[in-house]
């Protein structure tokens, strides 16, 4: 019988963890964003834009950007971060609630895969033998640069930017909040992936973590390298740098992102953070019951008009 809340999940923190990410951020070129209005996706209540910007190693990254047609700017803003196998939705629903919303498609997603396309499965183990060249390096930075893009927008209130996502979106919510602690006001992180990564591979036979198990089946001697690489990307190592309040919600029988790793994240975050757990739930982590909780949490911190 598993007792997820009682499990010990430990990840060693590389001594140059902060330096590695400082260098990574410094290596990002100017954003050079473009915004193209998308009339076929826009509605009477929401304007939709097809956005492109430059990120780490000069790759162009796509995003959908939506703004409310009601209310007056500046708007509070959200970066919505996609799951591992999903493509970003056009985030109109968030703009109907009063947010400017940027749904980022980090490198490898369909509209950002011209130069980097490790596939799914594939991303989790792409160049995993070396943390410098690991495929997720640019992917993580693409989300950070999405925040930077919002900070440049005149219609966005730079003091009211939050992050929202589940699974990979939850995990990258943590890394992004850690790398932009001054900009992020709150994070909604459901069923967070990429936390306690190596421990997770021993707790589940489900993908995406199964990708690492498969990689090690073929390269068993790489386990020390893989362990070292992913320690630079593990949410548990980013957590101490997060200053924003984080809503965490977990399915207590999540086979994709084991709840043990979600509890470990909650413990690793400094300060108090709301934690919601849902028995008999898997990777959906309490949908649809948690959606009102998410909306209330974000509205409480970001205060969209009318809330």
């Amino acid at each position: 019988m598993r007792v997820p809340e009682a499990a010990t999940i430990e990840v060693s923190r590389p001594v140059d963890f902060d330096e590695f990410w400082a260098e990574s951020l410094a290596a990002c070129p100017a954003l050079e964003p473009s915004f193209e209005y998308a009339p076929a996706l826009s509605t009477d209540t929401v304007a939709v834009y097809d956005v492109r910007y430059t990120s780490y190693q000069g790759l162009r990254v796509a995003a959908w950007y939506t703004t409310p047609r009601h209310g007056a700017p500046p708007y509070p803003a959200l970066v919505t971060i996609p799951g591992y196998i999903s493509e970003p939705d056009v985030p109109r629903r968030w703009s109907e609630l009063g947010y400017a919303a940027l749904a980022v498609a980090p490198r490898g997603k369909l509209r950002s895969n011209a130069e980097f396309n490790p596939g799914y499965p594939g991303l989790l183990t792409d160049n995993i033998a070396d943390h410098h060249t690991y495929g997720y390096r640019g992917f993580y930075l693409d989300v950070v640069r999405a925040v930077d893009l919002l900070l440049e927008r005149s219609e966005v209130d730079a003091d009211r930017i939050g992050l929202q996502g589940s699974s990979q979106g939850g995990g990258l919510g943590i890394s992004t909040a850690a790398l932009r602690p001054d900009a992020i006001v709150c994070v909604s992180a459901g069923a967070p992936y990429l936390c306690g990564i190596m421990a997770a591979t021993r707790l589940t036979r489900s993908y995406p973590y199964e990708e690492i198990t498969e990689y090690l089946r073929v390269h068993p001697d790489h386990e020390p390298l893989v362990t070292e690489t992913v320690s630079y990307y593990d949410g548990l190592n980013f957590a101490p740098r997060v200053r924003a309040p984080v809503l965490i919600y977990l399915g207590m029988e999540d086979d994709v992102c084991p709840p043990e790793t979600g509890f470990a994240l909650h413990r690793a975050l400094p300060g108090e953070h709301p934690l919601h757990t849902y028995p008999s739930c898997g990777h959906h982590a309490g949908l649809p019951w948690v959606m009102p909780v998410i909306e209330e949490f974000l509205a409480g911190h970001l205060k969209p008009e009318g809330r």
């Binding site: 996706l41 493509e87 369909l110």
Partner: protein, 276 residues
């Protein structure tokens, strides 16, 4: 013959004229003592080269088998370890999905309404053909137990496949995509009709060829429909010869266990949970 029958007969004819010419490549990283895993390529209607994941249990066989039809999205999950242990599993990637995205890469949003202005141009004509080709590939294997073959999917692609390819003993559909779609109007369809309001009639005509109620009488398999609202699904269940509805609780681990147990029971193997 009705237009509906003629439309689908034409798809079958096209597939009959095109040999599948399967190519299998063993994948050592996904192969264990319990099963052998292959990447598979097949020719489908078009002609178009589609992709699939095949896992074959270790042992003499024949094995209970499951055809997994593709989800709506660019990526299909690789068959799960639990399923590989119990079944011979084949998962189809339809044209446009990853691994089957040359020369056509599907857009999301966008795929659902591609070519929807006419039945013959609608992208789902080819997608259904891809599922049928996958069924033919699975059902042609000597190591498949003919008395224990299921088709399972997130949506009615599994139902269309069971309707048009006899040989499946069980059918599981985990949710609707086409059923009563003009009422439910998912975002992509609503966007299309907002931009092209004059096309509403043509769109309705195209989608009528993909109405699962029209396909249902041809399904011989014992069927389980998973649904949010059982009463909303009853017309479809009623059109199927042997169907039951499982009302989803949205406690998804519990739902997945129930759906797993139903399929396991149909195919004579033990149920398994993914959270152990």
């Amino acid at each position: 013959m009705t237009d509906f029958d003629r439309y689908w007969e034409t798809v079958d004819d096209e597939l009959r004229r095109l040999p599948a010419r399967p190519v299998l490549e063993k994948v050592p990283a996904r192969t264990t003592d319990d099963y052998t895993f292959y990447d598979v390529w097949l020719t489908s209607a078009g002609p178009y080269r589609i992709f699939g994941y095949l896992s074959v249990p270790t042992g003499p066989g024949p094995f209970p088998a499951v055809l997994e039809t593709p989800r709506y999205g660019s990526v299909n999950q690789v068959p799960h370890h639990n399923d590989r242990l119990r079944y011979l599993v084949f998962t189809v990637a339809h044209r446009g999905q990853r691994r089957a995205d040359t020369p056509f890469a599907a857009a999301y949003p966008g795929l659902f309404t591609r070519g929807i202005e006419a039945p013959v141009s609608y992208v789902y004509r080819g997608i259904v053909a891809d599922c049928l080709r996958g069924a033919e590939f699975l059902l042609s294997r000597d190591d498949v137990d003919r008395d224990r073959v299921a088709v399972s999917g997130d949506d009615e692609l599994a139902l269309f496949t069971a309707a048009r390819r006899p040989g499946f003993t069980a059918l599981r559909v985990d949710g609707p995509l086409f059923y009563r779609i003009l009422e439910s109007q998912p975002e992509e369809l609503a966007d299309h009709l907002r931009v092209h309001p004059d096309a509403a009639g043509a769109v309705a005509d195209t989608l009528s060829y993909f109405d699962p109620v029209r396909h249902a009488p041809d399904v011989a398999a014992t069927t389980l429909l998973a649904a949010d609202d059982a009463s909303w699904y009853e017309p479809l269940a009623g059109a199927l010869p042997d169907a039951a509805i499982y009302p989803l609780t949205h406690e998804d681990a519990a739902d997945n266990n129930t759906l797993d147990a139903w399929l396991a029971g149909q195919l004579g193997v033990e149920p398994m949970t993914r959270f152990r």
